[in-house]
Amino acid sequence: MTDRQRIFGLRAAGVYYALLLLLVTLAAIAASRGLPAYLSAQNLGNIAYQASLVGIMGVAMTVMLITGAFDLSVASVAALAAAVLVGLAGRIGFAPAIVAALCTAATVGLVNGVIVQFVGINAFIVTLGTLTAVRGLVLILTDGRSLMVEDPVVLQQMLAFESTRVPLFWPLLAVAALLLAGGVAKRRTPAIMAGGIVAALAFLGGRGASVAAPVVYLALFTAAVGFMLRFTVIGRRLYAVGGNAEAARLSGINVHAYRLGAFVLSSVAAGFAGVLFGCRLGAINPTALQGTELTVIAAAILGGTSLFGGAGSVVKTVVGALLLFTLTNGFNILNLGANYQGLIEGIVVVAAAAIYTVGGQRRRAFTRVDTAPAEATA
C-alpha cells in the first residue's frame, strides 16, 4: 500500500469524497431549479448546527468503539441530562444545574462501565437495558409531561449559552494558518489540505459569517479528543485496548480503567448534548431525542470506525454526521420528497460499511499470505 493510497484511497478518505459529492449534487439541483444558492454560508452553518449534537455524541462514541465497547444509551442519557437541567435550573441556577446534569450523566456511564467490566455482560446488552431504564427515569422525573423553565433570567442565560452566534472569519483563518504552518513544517499533506479547506471556507463565508455556539463546542471537543487520540499516550493505549486487549494487558496497561473511562466520556458527552438540547428550547419533552443513538452510531460507521475496536477517527465521525444531516437538509430545502429520505440514508450507511469491509478483507487476505511461514513450521 503506497502513501498515496493510505491518504487518498477510498477506504481512507471515502467519507470526505461522499460529503463533497453530495454537496455538489445538491448545489447543482438547487441551481437547476432556480432556488437560492445551496452552498451559502448560512445554509452550511445550519447543517453544522443541526449536526452538532449528534457530532458531539459521535465523537465520544468513536472513542467507545475504539476501545471495543458499545453504548446504546447515549440518547436516553442526553434526555435525562436535559430533564435534570430544565428541572433544576429555575431552583439552583443555570451553572449548578449544568454541573448536576453532567454528574448525573457521568454516573450512568460509570454504572454502564462497571457492569460491563466487572460483571462481564456484553456492552450491547447492558446499554440496551440502560437505554430503556434511563428513558424510564426521565418519565418518572418529568411525570410524563413536558418541563419548561419559568424564570425569565435563567431562560435568557440558557438561550445565550446555546444560540449565541460566534463570528467565524478570523478564527477560521487562524486555524487555517496553524494547520498550514504545522503541515509544511512536518511535511504532512493531510494537514496542509485541511488548512486549505478551512481557509477556503472562511473566504467562502465572507467576513460576516457566523455560526451558533454548539458548532464551536463540537469543533473544540473534536479537536481535543482528536488530539488526545493522535498525540497522547492515553490515545494510543485506547487503540491498543481495542485492538488487542490481551496484548495491552500483558504490556502493563490497566484495561479496566481505559474501558471505564470510555463509558464515562461517552455519557458525559451525551449529557452535554442533552444540556445543549435543553437550552435550545428551554424545555424538555420526555420523549425527546428518542432514536438518536442510532444516528450517532451511523455517523461513526460512516466515518469508518470499526465495530470490533482498535480503529477509528473522530474527525471522520463528525464528517459522517455532517453527511447524514446534509442529506436531511437537502431533502427539506430542495423538497425532494421526504418519503425517500429514510431509504436513501439507510442505503448510504450500508454502502459505506460495505466499502470499508470489502477493503478490509482484501487487506487481511494479503497479510494472511504473509504469516503463512509461521504456521508451516509450527
Partner: protein, 490 residues
C-alpha cells in the same frame, strides 16, 4: 490397513514440512508417533485427515491408493482423526455433537447405536448433557465417540492426553487399547515418551520431516526414543565453555500456585541469570510465568523483587520492572492496528504527549539491534514474518526499567536464523545484568543458553537440572517420561 509411502509436503512459501515419510498402520495395533516441535507431526496428521493434500507420495488404504480431497472424504474412507484442540459445539448436547456430520432431514440420528457405542467407552457420559457442562476428559470421550460413530477403521489421535488429568488419561488409554483389540488401526501421537512406551506396539519418530526411527516398542527404551527425537540436531548455539557468573538474588517467589494448573512453587532468580523452564505443552510453564507477572487472576502466592513485594496485577509488575513476552505473539503480543514504533512504546509510562521523533528513533534502533526485517517504525507487525514479529514483542521490553524478563516460548514457530538471533540476544541481555526466565519446549535451546533448568510436568517442578552436565535427551526423559507417570498422575 493404511500405508503411507514417500509422503512429501512443501508449502507454497518453500518450507518443506515432510521429506518422504513412510508409515504403515496395522489393524489391531497401536502405532506411536513422536517428534519435536516442527518435526512434521501436525502436517502428517492433517494429510491423514484430508485437511491438506501431500505434495508427493501415495496413501494406500486397504489395497488401493486413494486421495483425500477434504476431511469428509477421509472420514468416508474410514479414517477418523481426533484433533488436539477438541472441535465440539459447546452449546449442543454430546449426542448432537456425535451425529453432527449426519446428512438428511430428520434431526435425531440413530440414538440406540450411539448409546451402545458410548457405553463401551471406559468413561461414559450422559448423552443429553451439553458439551459445555462436561469436564474436559468427557469432552475428549465425545470426540472419540464422534470418530467411532462414523465407523472408522483407522483412528488418528493427536496428543489426546495433553490437557487431561491423571484418571482421565487412564480412561483414554483404556479406550485406545480397546479400539486396537476390536481390530482397528490406531495412530497415537504424543509428547509423553512413557505414555508411548506403555501404550503402543510400534513407534515412529519424525525429525525434520523424515522418519529417523521405526521399530517395535518392545525393542526400545525411553532413552533410545529421546535420542531419536533430539537427534544430532544442528546446535542452534554452542554453550560457552566458561560458566557465566551470576549476581545477587533479585527475585524470589513463594508458593506461586494456580488452581488445577500449577502446584505451589518457590523459586529464586539472580541478576544476570538465565533460568530455563523445561516442559511440554500444559506442563505449567506458561502458568508459572503468568503467575509471576500477575496476569493470572486465579493465581496465588507472592513475588518479591529486590526486597519489595510486587502487586498482583500486570501493570504493577511492569511498574516494578518485570516484563513478559507471551507465548502466542499474535493474540497476546502486539496490537495489530499499531505500527512497530507504537507497539514498542506501549509499556511506556510517565508522560502524556507522544514524542513521535523519539519513538521513531527507538524503533529504528531496535530494528538495527535485533535485526528486524522491516522498512521503518510505521510498518505493522502483522505484515512481518513470525520471527520478526517476535523481535518486535521483545523490543517492547528492552528499556532501562526492565529488570526481569520472562520469555514464554520465544522461538516457537520461527526460522532458525531468527531463533539464533533471539537466543544470542537473550544471552547478551543476561550479560548486561538482566534476570531472565526462559520457558521452552525446545530443550536444545535451554541446554545452550540457560544457567539452571527447572523441569515441569503436570504443574509440578519435578527436577532441577544443570545444563552443563545434562543434555537434551536427558531433559526429554525428565519432562516427558522417566517416572512412572501413570501412577504418578493417578
Amino acid at each position: 490397513m493404511l500405508t503411507l509411502s514417500g509422503i512429501e509436503k512443501v508449502f507454497p512459501n518453500g518450507t518443506a514440512a515432510l521429506r518422504g515419510v513412510d508409515l504403515t498402520l496395522v489393524p489391531g495395533r497401536v502405532h506411536g508417533l513422536l517428534g519435536a516441535n516442527g518435526a512434521g507431526k501436525s502436517t502428517l496428521i492433517k494429510i491423514l485427515a484430508g485437511a491438506t493434500a501431500p505434495s508427493a507420495g501415495t496413501i494406500i488404504l486397504g489395497d488401493r491408493p486413494c486421495r483425500f480431497a477434504s476431511p469428509r472424504d477421509a472420514k468416508a474412507a474410514g479414517v477418523a482423526t481426533i484433533f488436539q484442540h477438541i472441535p465440539l459445539v459447546p452449546t449442543l448436547s454430546a449426542f448432537e455433537n456425535i451425529v453432527l456430520d449426519e446428512r438428511g432431514w430428520r434431526r435425531g440420528g440413530d440414538r440406540r447405536r450411539i448409546a451402545a457405542l458410548v457405553a463401551t467407552l471406559r468413561d461414559p457420559f450422559p448423552l443429553d448433557a451439553l458439551v459445555t457442562d462436561l469436564p474436559i476428559g468427557a469432552r475428549q470421550m465425545v470426540t472419540i465417540a464422534q470418530a467411532l460413530a462414523s465407523g472408522a477403521d483407522v483412528v488418528v489421535m493427536d496428543e489426546p492426553t495433553a490437557s487431561l488429568a491423571g484418571h482421565e488419561r487412564i480412561a483414554v488409554y483404556d479406550t485406545v487399547r480397546r479400539l486396537a483389540a476390536e481390530g482397528r488401526a490406531v495412530l497415537f501421537v504424543s509428547h509423553f515418551i512413557d505414555e508411548i512406551v506403555a501404550l503402543t506396539d510400534d513407534v515412529t519418530v519424525l525429525r525434520d520431516g523424515r522418519v529417523v526411527l521405526e521399530a517395535r516398542t518392545t525393542d526400545l527404551t525411553e532413552g533410545l526414543i529421546a535420542e531419536a527425537i533430539a537427534g544430532r540436531a544442528v546446535a542452534v548455539l554452542e554453550r560457552p565453555a566458561q560458566p557465566r557468573r551470576r549476581g545477587r538474588p533479585l527475585l524470589t517467589a513463594h508458593g506461586l500456585t494456580s488452581p488445577g494448573r500449577l502446584a505451589p512453587t518457590d523459586l529464586t532468580l539472580h541478576e544476570g541469570e538465565i533460568l530455563g523452564l523445561a516442559g511440554m505443552l500444559g506442563s505449567g510453564r506458561s502458568e508459572l510465568l503468568h503467575a509471576i507477572f500477575g496476569a493470572d487472576r486465579a493465581a496465588g502466592g507472592e513475588v518479591v523483587l529486590d526486597g519489595k513485594p510486587v502487586g498482583r496485577w500486570p501493570d504493577e509488575a511492569v511498574a516494578a520492572g518485570i516484563a513478559l513476552v507471551p507465548e502466542d505473539r499474535d493474540t497476546q503480543g502486539y496490537a495489530p492496528q499499531l505500527g512497530i514504533a507504537a507497539n514498542i512504546a506501549l509499556p511506556q509510562t510517565g508522560r502524556l504527549l507522544i514524542d513521535h521523533a523519539a519513538e521513531a528513533r527507538a524503533a529504528a534502533a531496535a530494528i538495527v539491534r535485533l535485526g528486524i526485517k522491516a522498512t521503518d517504525g510505521d510498518a505493522l507487525p502483522v505484515e512481518l514474518s513470525g520471527g520478526n514479529a517476535q523481535k518486535v514483542v521483545i523490543a517492547k521490553w528492552l528499556r532501562p526499567a526492565t529488570r526481569v524478563l520472562l520469555l514464554d516460548e520465544p522461538t516457537a514457530g520461527i526460522d532458525i536464523g531468527a531463533r539464533t538471533d533471539i537466543l544470542r540476544l537473550i544471552r547478551d541481555l543476561a550479560d548486561e545484568g538482566l534476570a531472565v526466565i526462559l520457558a521452552s519446549s525446545e530443550f536444545s535451546e535451554l541446554v545452550a543458553v540457560a544457567d539452571r533448568i527447572l523441569v515441569l510436568r503436570d504443574g509440578h517442578v519435578v527436577a532441577t537440572a544443570d545444563p552443563a552436565t545434562c543434555d537434551e535427551a536427558g531433559l526429554i526423559v525428565l519432562a516427558g517420561g522417566g517416572r512412572p507417570a501413570l501412577e504418578n498422575a493417578a
